[in-house]
């Protein structure tokens, strides 16, 4: 969309790692500070979307292909629901993480981490998928406008 702006390209390249690290920080520090899978997922998706807006959606699709995005959307839900099934199989209530670890506390801790990862995957990929679809349409409209 804005492929000719040097300053934007340089600044975005500098910002991207910071945004991604911040997303991971929000993800894994969610137990101790504000944040969690939801916020981290949006932040990570925002990084890729920023990249796509400045360098073009096709470049973003090279980093995160649509096939991977489309697989990740249900994968996150499956991880979340699967954790519940795992605790069922280990003899506890659905989504009770206590039997996942050697001690109930450890199990809870691990369960929260896994579940947050599931949230992260679904949220990030859904945002990205919606952006890809909208952006793809914008590119189509541009092409049509150019031809017409």
């Amino acid at each position: 969309m804005m492929r000719d702006t040097v300053i934007l390209r340089v600044v975005v390249k500098l910002l991207l790692p910071a945004i991604l690290i911040f997303a991971l920080y929000v993800q894994f520090h969610g137990d101790y500070g504000p944040g969690g899978g939801f916020q981290a997922g949006v932040a990570a998706a925002a990084a890729i979307i920023l990249y796509g807006m400045v360098f073009g959606i096709d470049e973003a699709k090279k980093v995160v292909p649509r096939r991977i995005v489309n697989t990740m959307i249900p994968l996150g839900v499956l991880i979340f629901a699967g954790t519940g099934v795992a605790s069922l199989l280990l003899g506890e209530n659905y989504l009770d993480y206590s039997p996942l670890g050697s001690k109930p506390v450890k199990g809870q801790h691990l369960g929260i981490l896994i579940v947050e990862a599931g949230v992260f995957i679904t949220v990030a990929s859904t945002m990205l998928a919606i952006f890809y679809v909208f952006g793809g349409r914008a590119d189509e409209a541009d092409e049509k406008g150019g031809e017409g």
Binding site: D31, Y32, G33, P74, G76, G118, I130, F131, R137, A138
Partner: protein, 185 residues
């Protein structure tokens, strides 16, 4: 502090109503979300503030701008008088204000919502889940079902958008195929 922020929000809303350029409406919507996020920070709901800033101000603004790229950026002229929508808004608004009369006083420790399960969470969350952030413990563990539901909602919304927006392209492909087969025949 709250009053100032809420006043700002009212000003932004009036700005949104009066603006006819959809670009400024989208940007003002982002400003509104940031103000709301600040209100959440003032209310000590940092997690909610973070979500509001990321989703409301960040993601929605970007997606709406992407939509504006596809459509015109001027508001379409009204086809009828705004009397009925205005009436509906006023009725809903006054019903909501009427409902707030029955709410307990703001922020008191012995309010019902602070007496039910909240003390249990505050006392036991760190012991039971090793997670000092009680919000995370409640979201992911105690209320895991709710969060699973939320993730499923996002999943469903994403799939829905994908299906709706990919449909036209498929139809175009069918048309192209038909054209090709006619050409072959």
């Amino acid at each position: 502090m709250n009053t100032v922020l809420l006043l700002f929000m009212v000003v932004v809303v009036i700005g949104i109503i009066r603006a006819h350029n959809l670009f400024s409406v989208v940007i003002l919507g982002g400003a509104y979300s940031f103000l709301l996020a600040t209100v959440m920070v003032v209310l000590d709901a940092v997690d909610v503030a973070m979500t509001e800033a990321a989703v409301g101000a960040g993601m929605s603004t970007v997606l709406l701008l992407a939509v504006l790229h596809l459509t015109r950026t001027r508001e379409a002229p009204l086809r009828h008088a705004p009397a009925i929508p205005l009436l509906v808004c006023l009725l809903t608004g006054s019903a909501l204000v009427y409902a707030t009369v029955d709410l307990p006083p703001f922020g008191l420790a012995d309010n019902p919502q602070n007496q039910h399960v909240a003390p249990y969470y505050l006392d036991n969350a760190e012991k039971e889940t090793k997670s000092p952030n009680v919000v995370t413990a409640v979201l992911a563990s105690y209320r895991g079902f709710d969060t699973l539901g939320e993730v499923t909602v996002i999943f469903t919304a994403g799939i829905g958008v994908l299906i709706l927006l990919s449909r036209r392209r498929r139809r175009e492909m069918i048309v192209v195929d038909e054209g090709r087969s006619k050409h072959d025949a």
